[in-house]
Symmetry: C2
Subunit: 369 residues, 2 copies
């Protein structure tokens, strides 16, 4: 696995239980997945990644940032790479993704490529004077995304694009009633499997909560299944794919973003599903039979621990959370706290979504104030 | 954790999720828990164990074989050791254990210390001419246990004991209807928590199956709870304690053996309980609040994978098991197969114990023939 963050860390338990040897190429010493790190180096350097990949059965990723030339070098050297460069391109370039979604007929917001100020002005004029400008590459957790009401508000990005920086696109500002995410796993041999549709709640553009399954999703679940499987097949994604969606008040679902790896919207599966997204990703990239995505309880709620406590030590909060909530699973990423940084999550499971959400929030609150 | 076997291996996922740094002193390179091994050495050498323990918060164990003088040296050097030497003595010496069980009033088979052939002959004469001779120290998985119908059948052990080898004891051969195991966790500050009583099925003196919860256990569960908590408190055990029991056809339960660590009879908790025995052991030895022992499903059945397939590769069997049983959890210990060796286990969970047992056995059968 290239990348040593918390996704790589959470892959370790699945690898240990399955008896799979996991090796991690970490960006630095002491990262979240340090336990499995067999190499430290820059994932943008083909030489580093090729040396790391020597002797492994399959190469996979903790993030989508490995450059295409490095991915191609891996494939050219005969390595099995999952997901492969052709699929990852659509997670790396939002313009390519939007074009491909259109070809696949996946429902998505109105959008347009932006290669000039005029392009942006035209789109804004056609969409009530507002739009969401995005850099096609390099964004995450709200970075590279800006709601604008005039082209001037994106002048720095327009200048950057003109100077060879990230290309831009603009999307309609969707008046969504809620955000959803559909997780799907796909093996190289083609088998796909979905978990139930979940609701995600973002705060400050960071995922704060996940409610699984999403309420009142019975009607749209079959449609969303089809969308997610269609994207996984259409893009040739191997491993876990997260499809982030908007649901509008008039009952449409629109594809927002794609992540080709285990995703924050699927952390609840560690405690709430027979097969976690991390185990499933390993099975999928190794082309092993996929595991059941059945639920361990009717409702699961995951809350991120972001930034750490305003006062006092994380250790004390941790002890207090365990004491007050013996039935809530507390996950720590062993990362130093800093504002806005995801340092852990908690998951509660049970029969009733409201009760489970209350319990999860109460446990997570121990890490806040 | 001193010892690098599969118990240490299965501790890794719990440590990773809790954000606890686990360090393992392994007996050799490439052991089951190699991923977490920070040292390789002989646990019988105080110098080795003391060096390993430098800088850790607490020392715990994958087995009960660390000699008392090494344990005392750790305590004398100021290390927190859980379970401590005073408790471990009763897992290391079956005569001391039997004496202490008697003091605590725990129900147990009739027994007697054997320091001479005459001692053994007297016991056999008083118990229908049959008894179970045990070495007080060094036994496991049926080793150091022998059913005898004449003192001569233990002559080698009697000679050994007279020559300074392991001391002996003899126990009545209990006409049990089934074997049970009660898992309990205890923190240094005193909190204890039990999982439901389980039934264990032994084959060739090795644990083959665990059915959780044991059928028709409602009546005896409170009694067994009291026995297990009484032993944990009475012996000052910290961490997880497994109390193996005989149930007799006339409805009595008798303490058979003790294990002061996560135990094969508790592997089902990884998939069947909110808190696994491995997570609970870590919480307990670190004196963190214990986690809920509630069940994730009404029934869990664990089957050991022993010895590996008679023909064909383990990898092929593994793939076939995953394919046929997407809802069964397959655990591999990454150990080379050899006859009689535990190399993994499978766990199924569900609503009905019979159905779950059938499914678990079918999955495990992939590794046999």
């Amino acid at each position: 696995m290239v990348g040593g963050g918390q996704l790589a860390r959470m892959m370790i338990p699945a690898a240990v239980e399955l008896g799979i040897e996991l090796r991690v190429l970490a960006e630095a010493d002491g990262m979240s997945a340090a336990l499995a790190a067999t190499a430290v180096g820059d994932y943008r350097e083909a030489e580093t990644v090729l040396a790391f990949a020597e002797g492994v059965d399959v190469v996979t990723f903790d993030h989508e940032h490995v450059p295409q030339d490095v991915l191609r070098a891996l494939v050219d050297a005969g390595h099995r790479v999952h997901p492969g460069p052709d699929a990852l391109r659509f997670a790396q370039d939002k313009r390519a993704m939007r074009e491909r979604m259109a070809e696949l007929g996946a429902p998505q917001p109105d959008w347009a490529p932006v290669d000039s100020r005029a392009d942006l002005e035209r789109f804004l004029a056609d969409h009530g004077g507002v739009g969401v400008v995005k850099t096609a590459t390099g964004g995450y957790d709200g970075k590279g995304v800006r709601v604008v009401r005039a082209a001037a508000e994106a002048h720095d990005w327009l200048d950057g694009a003109a100077a060879g920086g990230p290309r831009l696109l603009v999307e309609e500002l969707v008046p969504f009633s809620r955000e959803l995410a559909q997780l799907v796993a796909r093996r190289p041999s083609g088998e796909t499997l979905v978990w139930p549709l979940v609701q995600t709640v973002q705060r400050d553009s960071i995922c704060a909560e996940v409610l699984a399954p999403a309420r009142h999703a019975e009607r749209i679940q079959p449609l969303v299944d089809d969308i997610a499987r269609g994207i996984a097949d259409g893009l040739g994604v191997t491993g876990v794919l997260a499809v982030e969606l908007f649901e509008t008040s008039d009952g449409r679902v629109l594809v927002n973003e794609l992540a080709m790896r285990p995703h924050n919207s699927g952390h609840w599966t560690i405690d709430g599903s027979i097969t976690s997204q991390f185990e499933q990703h390993l099975r999928a990239v190794l082309d092993l039979p996929l595991g059941s995505t059945a639920l361990l309880a009717p409702a699961s709620v995951m809350i991120n621990v972001i930034g750490g406590p305003a006062s006092g030590s994380m250790t004390d909060r941790y002890r207090a959370a365990l004491h007050a909530h013996p039935d809530v699973k507390v996950h720590s990423y062993a990362k130093a706290t800093r504002p806005g940084r995801k340092v852990g999550h908690v998951t509660a499971i049970g029969d009733d979504l409201d009760e489970v959400a209350y319990r999860a929030r109460a446990a997570a609150a121990h890490f806040d104030a």
